[in-house]
Amino acid sequence: MSLSREQIAMRVAQELKDGYYVNLGIGIPTLVANYVPKNIEVMLQSENGLLGMGPYPTREQLDPDMINAGKETVTAISGASIFSSAESFAMIRGGHVDLTVLGAFEVDQNGNIASYMIPGKLVKGMGGAMDLVAGAQNIVVTMTHADKHGKSKLLANCSLPLTGVDCINKIVTDLAVLDIKNGAFHLLERAPGVSVNEIVSRTEGKLVISDNVPEMKFV
């Protein structure tokens, strides 16, 4: 059975390591913060200028001057720092953020990503997504494996305008965990109860499958 949004977030959270600085995009990536393993510490970076983002505020803590990159009211944890947008993207562009998790419309077998623009629909802008995919050491893309019509989002070549080229090497979908290398998707894990055949049928790009593809494990 395909994973829920929460389960995708839980699987992504297994990619976190102790001491990581992490930028979480809007949507499923935001949920990852709820599943940080108990035995590690990570610090969340929000690209509007906050390192050490905490949970949503109580009514008493609520402050219009404390928001995250999704424009939600938030808090800061002990050890947080606050800085300008130029400093924030110096961190991101300079490769100091250990892991970025973000959503996408499409990813292709060459590590290209399309996530900000569907021609014909209103263009709202890329925000910080282009900087994040160009700058992060490590990127995990979260998305559904196929759209609601069953059309694959893991393609040979992205059809939409790109957010970045040759920058994605890990994807967690509702069906599978995959690496991208040498011009192909490599199937690493499948969602519990999902067959390799189903993943094959939902993947348009070149897919490399080893003899034994384990099911994802959730603790």
């Binding site: 009211t73 606050i82 300008s84 910080g128 080229v165």
Partner: protein, 234 residues
Amino acid sequence: MAGFNKVVTSYADALSGLKDGMTVISGGFGLCGIPEGLIARIKEMGTTSLTFVSNNCGVDDFGLGILLKEKQIRKMISSYVGENAEFERQYLSGELEVELTPQGTLAEKIRAGGAGIPAFYTATGYGTPVAEGKEVKQFNKRNYILEESITGDFSLVRAWKADKTGNLVYRDTAMNFNPMAATAGRITVVEVEEIVETGSLKPTEIHTPGIYVDRIIRSSFEKRIERLTLADNN
């Protein structure tokens, strides 16, 4: 002798010299840390054909949205411009020109403008629509695009505290684009919550040195929240 006293007491003085067709850089991220009173005053002045450099464009009835509504903005240079129905209408009808710029590139273009750097290379946007028409160069086998800096005729800045010489301190994430905006305006106008005695800000805790600031006006702020999110038990 005026010396270094940059405090003005009216919005007319604060925005004196702002004219149709000028380029204005504004601090703010969403509705957070925006120069509310200066924007409202531009609405009153009726100045038109403005180019605004700002990460976002407000909402329909707040922030830069109120200038859009009055058709005072000809062009927006921004990274994200959702949340605004009037924006959408003007953009689709061709009344409004929009130059979408990645957020980090936008921040760095404004910083570079203030720092006398006319252009810099960045990997951000290489191979995407943002790179169209831009020079590409390789460094260490990676491709980068050349991005030019931005300066403004005016910069509008929102700060928390200022002393009379223009030294500024920002409050929490209301800082965002404001420090860069402060450096890149030919005339930099700052709207602050509080004017403090010169000498009361510690020299190493000043975010923006007064050398960048031309005019300071004290104001109070609505500080509208765009997305109210509270802890579960609230």
